[in-house]
């Protein structure tokens, strides 16, 4: 048993950051540089420390490790072997450091004074809140606390604090609430949960609407599972529009919007008779049995495709059907979710690959129904003080509800958040929250998993943790509470863990606990009831506007982060600003080209959006990413409380305006140039004839292999590269001119049928590099380790190298790269600085190679295979990128390069690239 001080001491030594978190803003925040303080606690100049923590950009809770240099977080990466993510970190996770350093972050409390928000002190703001709370309590008005999804220690604190403060903690507000799935599972199995999926095991996988690779529950983990599926696995994806998930499925079925119940009902009738878990007779009796012809007619899917799908599911050893996202965000979403759940049950997936017992912990999340109820209570003046924390209901509520106006019904509106948004703007008191990298926290993103968040930096502004705010309000209400949220958390850990367990928890950043629940059983009566409620009506004809989720900003919460605008949308390559995806046929009909503006009207709602042609999109379907719209034009499905995202009958007309829009792809097609050869035929087995002798690589020959069959185009690698290499972020104007600076990009290439292949292109580190001999000053040369090195200090900026690069991976600094403070703190000190007039590019993260080589030398050994991991490879959720030394005959890279299917892009030019591409072959390992 140890006392509190010893405990804190241990924890501090282990986790560090306590010294930093103890620093308060306003004081002199110079870092302690001392040889006596271990680097974890203080600062050793030039040394990095990695902290294990958790990403909070979406509710999934992926593991994240943060690299600290001189007391500042400079890079975020995935935690290998993490139970949620498997080791990758998505594009939004990379952007969490941008959130930390975002110049627009709220730096101090604000209070409304005469109509406008003005800066205030914490004491000022909190006393206003405390007195309003006291007043409301006196008047007998219960307040409301509306927050985003909250788990773990903060959930416990809130559950305790809300009643203490006279507040009702409302069901959590999440735009992606998965309410239909939870409701269907509640009805059928008595478990109103989002099940935990295992997408790695199925040999036949059907996803209906559920965008596993983008925003569905836990996209990084699901992406890793999906690409790790068994050999010969077939994956169908059915959706009305064209999503990144659909683009990556083996076969994409284009459904008419609203016809999902037809497809699932037909499938249920098709597989139920021969299924491994027969349905009860009452359920079978209630089952709708649409004919295949009617189903084909209603869904728009060809009869033979339906037959193939039905036969595959029926014959599969481990079939899995998942419906969600866009498929359940519609009228009849409950039927879709229910049919999918019954398919899961009867195909034997429930309990195997669909785990309701160890669910994703969405039980306390509400839906738009709860938000509507809040709106009604506000209108009736039944709400005292209203708190809105980490949520933007004004933006996500249907525009027709006019929620912003209704907020005035509360006696005081208190907002907690980090960036100003539509909801915070309506608040009377705005309390800025510290970034998750500035505070202690413990999450429980799914049942049976605890995750640690620890401060990696002192708060940049005058911000506080939500827990501290709650404790302070309770203190002001006269209660005796823990001195700080940190102490409360540590007391909890002390009660739970012994020393060894704490060390393990602290080092890993997560701990799993056994979860047991009784196996779920099907309620036949409820199932029959649900099936009788399935209405198979023919989908409405005409145009459809689909409001799609966005891989780059989730539900819009990351939209303010510029890094996520700089990295292109995977399918359209649009970077900045809103757009509407238009099928090529519709574009012809409307007479629009890329960049021409369209006015979209839906009832009284309208928006003007530039058009972008989207190959593969069905005619009549228009797609807008819902995060880019200023307000939500859809309605709500009253049965589930889901937002309706497939909206029939949009009006579309040209405004006549238009112009260059910021998208990066010069051509959606490969133009028959065989960058991704189909079939693979370009592999040159014979050595190319050359006038010159082969030049030697005596020690290392760094080489990369990219598995394009594993690449899902998500852009995590590109974002990781931006942060690791301080790649300048240039903005919309420069992108419109074609001056993006990305060192690594993912090129989507569409075939004639609308299928997409993703090709990550980075500097190919050619052995006969065309860029090198044309440089007049040797700024580009080939180093003995096989890297195409760029010497920034020597570069005079002729741009000849870039002209001569067939891969166009060199980037010229047209202006001085400027980062607004405090973003300038997000800077990798291992790199040379670049100014205007200099060419820059990827060098396989040469700083990491150097670090590994130095480490190996210090330890008197050779560099181990897999020791050097470039930033792109580290973050890839699907481990598509393998890096290593070709001189090491036993390395993974050596095997991949020799594999028969591997090729190099534009090999016929004789550039001898060091980046090899292949389709499958190597198993993804970390």
């Amino acid at each position: 048993m140890m006392d509190r001080r010893t405990f804190l001491h241990t924890l501090g030594l282990l986790t560090g950051g306590s010294a930093l978190s103890a620093c308060t803003p306003g004081k002199d925040r110079r870092h302690l540089v001392s040889a006596l303080v271990p680097p974890e606690d203080g600062v050793v100049p030039g040394q990095s420390v990695w902290h294990a923590t958790t990403c909070t950009e979406c509710p999934a809770g992926c593991g994240m490790q943060v690299r600290l240099r001189e007391g500042r977080p400079v890079k975020a990466e995935g935690v290998p072997g993490h139970p949620v993510s498997g080791g990758g970190l998505c594009v939004r996770g990379q952007a969490s450091l941008w959130r930390l350093y975002d110049p627009r972050r709220l730096r101090g409390p604000q209070v409304r004074d005469g109509g406008a928000l003005r800066a205030a002190t914490w004491d000022d703001a909190l006393s206003r809140v405390a007195s309003a709370l006291a007043e409301a309590r006196g008047a007998g008005r219960t307040g409301a606390y509306l927050s985003g999804r909250t788990t773990g220690a903060l959930a416990a604190l809130l559950a305790e604090s809300a009643p203490a403060l006279g507040l009702e903690w409302l069901p959590r507000f999440e735009p992606f609430s998965h309410a239909a799935i939870r409701r269907a599972n509640g009805l059928l199995f008595g478990a109103p949960e989002v099940p935990r999926l295992d997408a790695a095991r199925p040999d036949v996988l059907l996803t209906v609407g559920a965008d596993l690779l983008e925003t569905f529950v836990s996209p990084v983990g699901l992406a890793a599972q999906v690409v790790a599926g068994p050999a010969g696995r077939r994956w169908w994806h059915a959706e009305p529009h064209c999503s990144l998930t659909g683009a990556n499925a083996d076969r994409r079925l284009v459904l008419r919007a609203g016809s999902e119940p037809w497809l699932l009902a037909w499938l249920l009738a098709r597989v139920a008779p021969s299924a491994r878990r027969p349905l009860p007779p009452a359920v079978v009796a209630a089952m709708p049995r649409p004919s295949i012809a009617a189903t084909a007619e209603a869904t728009g899917v060809a009869v033979d495709a339906l037959e193939a799908l039905g036969a595959a599911l029926a014959a599969a050893k481990e079939p899995l059907v998942v419906a969600g996202a866009i498929a359940t965000a519609a009228e009849g979403g409950l039927a879709v979710a229910g049919l999918a759940a019954l398919l899961q049950w009867t195909l034997g997936a429930t309990g195997r690959t669909v785990d309701l017992a160890r669910g994703e912990g969405y039980g306390d999340v509400g839906s738009l129904l709860d938000l509507r109820a809040l709106g009604e209570r506000l209108e009736r003046g039944q709400v005292g003080v209203l708190f809105v924390a980490r949520a933007n209901p004004v933006r996500h509520a249907p525009a027709a509800w006019r929620l912003a106006g209704k907020l005035a019904g509360a006696t005081l509106r208190v907002g907690l958040g980090d960036l100003m948004d539509e909801t915070l703007r309506e608040m009377d008191v705005v309390l800025p929250l510290s970034h998750p990298l500035e505070t202690w926290e413990e999450l429980a993103p799914r049942r049976g998993l605890r995750e640690l968040l620890r401060p990696a930096a002192a708060p940049l502004g005058d911000t506080r943790a939500e827990g501290d705010v709650l404790l302070e309000l309770r203190r002001r209400a006269g209660e005796t509470v823990a001195p700080s949220y940190q102490e409360r958390l540590m007391a909890g850990w002390r009660a739970r863990y012994d020393d060894a367990a704490l060390r393990a928890y602290s080092a890993a950043g997560w701990a799993e606990e056994p979860v047991s629940g009784p196996p779920v059983g099907l309620d036949a009566g409820a199932a029959a009831e649900l099936l009788r409620g399935v209405r198979l009506s023919p989908p409405k004809p005409g145009l459809v506007l689909v409001l799609a989720p966005s891989i780059r900003s989730f539900d819009g919460r990351s939209r303010a982060l510029q890094l996520l605008e700089e990295v292109p949308d995977p399918l359209t390559t649009v970077t900045y600003g809103p757009w509407i995806s238009v099928a090529p046929g519709d574009a012809r009909r409307l007479g629009v080209a890329d960049g021409d503006e369209l006015r979209v009207t839906l009832g009284g709602w309208s928006a003007e959006l530039p058009a972008k042609l989207q190959p593969g999109l069905a005619e009549g379907v228009f797609v807008v990413q819902r995060d880019v719209l200023p307000s939500f034009p859809g309605g709500m499905d009253p049965a589930t409380g889901e937002a309706i995202c497939a909206l029939p009958g949009p009006g579309l007309e040209r405004t006549g305006r238009g112009g260059r829009m910021p998208y990066l792809s010069g051509s959606p097609s490969q133009q028959g140039r065989g960058l991704i050869p189909e079939p693979i035929h370009r592999k040159e087995t014979a050595k190319r004839a050359s006038l010159y002798p082969e030049h030697p690589h005596p020690e290392h020959r760094w080489t990369m292999a990219i598995d394009v069959s594993r690449c899902i185009g998500c852009g995590a690698c590109a974002a990781s590269c931006y942060v690791e290499n301080d790649v300048p972020v240039t903005g919309a104007r420069e992108h419109r001119l074609g001056r993006e600076m990305s060192w690594l990009r993912i090129e989507p290439f569409y075939d004639a049928a609308g299928g997409v292949d993703f090709l990550p292109i980075l500097c190919q580190q050619c052995h006969a590099a065309p860029c090198e001999p044309v440089c007049p000053v040797y700024a580009a040369y080939h180093n003995p380790e096989g890297l195409n090195v760029q010497v920034y200090n020597r570069c005079i900026g002729t741009r000849y190298c870039s002209n001569n690069c067939p891969y166009k991976v060199r980037r010229f600094n047209w202006f001085d790269p400027v980062r607004e403070a405090p973003l300038d703190l997000l800077h990798n000190p291992d790199l040379s600085a670049r100014g205007r007039g200099i060419m820059e590019k990827c060098t396989f993260c040469v700083q990491r190679i150097t670090a590994a080589r130095d480490r190996a030398k210090d330890e008197g050994r050779a560099v181990r295979d897999g020791e050097v991991v470039p930033a792109c490879a580290q973050s890839c959720p699907t481990t598509a990128i393998v890096f290593g030394d070709l001189n090491d005959a036993g390395s993974r890279i050596a095997a991949l390069v020799k594999a028969p299917g591997s090729w190099r892009v534009f090999e016929e030019l004789g550039t001898e690239p060091s980046v090899h591409y292949h389709r499958g072959g190597g198993e993804g390992e970390r």
């Binding site: 140039r673 960058l675 290439f749 005079i796 001569n804 007039g837």
Partner: protein
């Protein structure tokens, strides 16, 4: 001619021109001076803010600035051609043009030489291009065509200046006699005390012959080296062996066109009609016609080879030029460079000074366009379709281009008043030769 001093009218008229600045000259000087100032102001902005002020972008790393470089180096070519090559071939019509053509060469190289500097991302370290020993022991990369450019353009400038100057020494000595006072003394110093003794003439003749012999290969090699900036690369549309002769022919075409553009007004405004006869213009027109045929031939060969060759990249590139977003410029270039000069097959057109003047301008428009299309279209449409992108110039590039013409005309206007614009001594010699021939039929 007998009994009078040979060619004294030439001497009087040419040197007389030096003394009479008219309002046209002053106006031209003011306009071109302002443009030259504009060039430097805009360049300053590019240095201080960055090359982002231009329209350059990711696939298109070179555009108007390099177009101007190639254009002005091309203009520089006919000077050497007329001076050196025609000297070796003893073409008599050379004497009307050689001095102004040589001046044009020197000024055009000076203007051309600015552009590689303007287009550098970090012009403040331009000296990295020069071979000089530094403590880091690093030298320029002589495998790159850009140091070849540095050597070629520097060599061409120095040789042209020497050639220009040496050709002028006897005339400077004459000018010194015609102008009293300080100006006369300046000419005297510039003439290095030339007395025209038999000994001096003997060495002078050898020197002139050697300079002509050294300069003649430069006519072929300088623009060949400029063409290798492109041909040495692997960019489709650049990487072709025909580039060296193609560029040389184009350079001579644009250079002769510029000679026409400059000398026709000069002849009129300086009152030199008697000394620049139409016959001589016809000779220039024939060179222009011949090089235009060569250029037209290379257009056909380039397109034909791309269609016939195995490379899809090349094929796409030439289709892109003819039918892509730059098609208007492409066809303008074909019309100006390969079709309009065909009118010179007609004797009347060859002897019409207004037409030659207009044609000279049109050919130079065409030649500028040719370089622009060649550079920009190739870069905007190379190997990786994802990286394709188009370019259009900004006000900065347009202003710098206009400024470069201003600077060139500023130099030329100053030259037309300060130095003898026609080679007096050589004209005298030519007149004497003709008189001799007429005297002994």
């Amino acid at each position: 001619m007998t009994g009078t001093r040979v060619g004294s009218e030439v001497e009087r008229d040419v040197l007389g021109a030096i003394r009479r600045p008219g309002w046209r000259w002053l106006l031209g000087l003011a306009v071109s001076g302002l443009l030259a100032v504009l060039l430097h102001v805009l360049w300053g902005a590019l240095i201080v803010r960055g090359l982002g002020l231009t329209g350059l972008n990711n696939p298109v790393g070179w555009a108007v600035l390099i177009t101007n470089f190639v254009f002005w180096v091309g203009i520089a070519h006919s000077g050497t051609l007329i001076s050196a090559v025609l000297f070796l071939f003893r073409a008599r019509f050379r004497t009307s043009f050689n001095r102004s053509a040589e001046a044009m060469t020197v000024f055009a190289i000076l203007v051309a030489g600015m552009f590689p500097l303007i287009h550098l991302g970090r012009v403040w370290v331009f000296y990295f291009l020069l071979p000089y020993p530094i403590e880091r022991l690093i030298w320029p990369n002589f495998r790159s065509p850009l140091p070849w450019d540095v050597f070629a353009v520097t060599t061409y400038l120095i040789v042209s200046v020497v050639f220009f100057y040496v050709g002028m020494i006897p005339d400077l000595a004459l000018a010194r006699r015609h102008l009293p006072g300080l100006r006369g003394r300046i000419y005297a110093v510039l003439s290095l005390g030339w007395q025209g003794t038999g000994e001096q003439w003997r060495h002078y003749a050898r020197l002139y012959l050697f300079l002509a012999a050294f300069a003649t290969p430069l006519v072929a090699s300088v623009h060949s080296i400029v063409s290798w900036d492109f041909a040495v690369s692997i960019v489709p549309g650049w990487h072709t062996t025909i580039f060296a002769p193609y560029f040389v022919a184009g350079a001579i075409l644009s250079g002769t066109a510029m000679v026409l553009t400059l000398s026709i007004p000069m002849r009129r405004w300086l009152g030199l009609e008697a000394h620049m006869p139409i016959d001589h213009y016809e000779g220039i027109a024939k060179i222009l016609l011949f090089t235009s045929l060569l250029v037209g031939y290379t257009y056909v060969v380039e397109q034909g080879l791309s269609l016939y060759g195995p490379s899809p990249f090349e094929r796409d590139q030439y289709a892109f030029r003819a039918f892509g977003p730059y098609r208007g410029l492409f066809w303008l270039m074909v019309v100006c460079n390969a079709i309009l000069p065909l009118t010179l097959f007609l004797r009347r057109a060859r002897r019409s000074l207004p037409w030659l003047f207009v044609l000279g301008i049109l050919v130079n428009v065409g030649m500028w366009t040719e370089r622009f299309v060649l550079i920009v279209a190739s870069l905007s449409h190379d190997f990786d379709p994802y990286a394709w992108g188009t370019y259009s110039p900004t006000r900065y590039e347009i202003g710098i281009t206009a400024g470069s013409f201003g600077l060139f005309f500023l130099f030329f206007l100053l030259f037309s008043r300060l130095l003898p614009v026609i080679a007096i001594t050589e004209s005298k010699q030519a007149l004497a030769d003709r008189a001799g021939e007429e005297g002994t039929p």
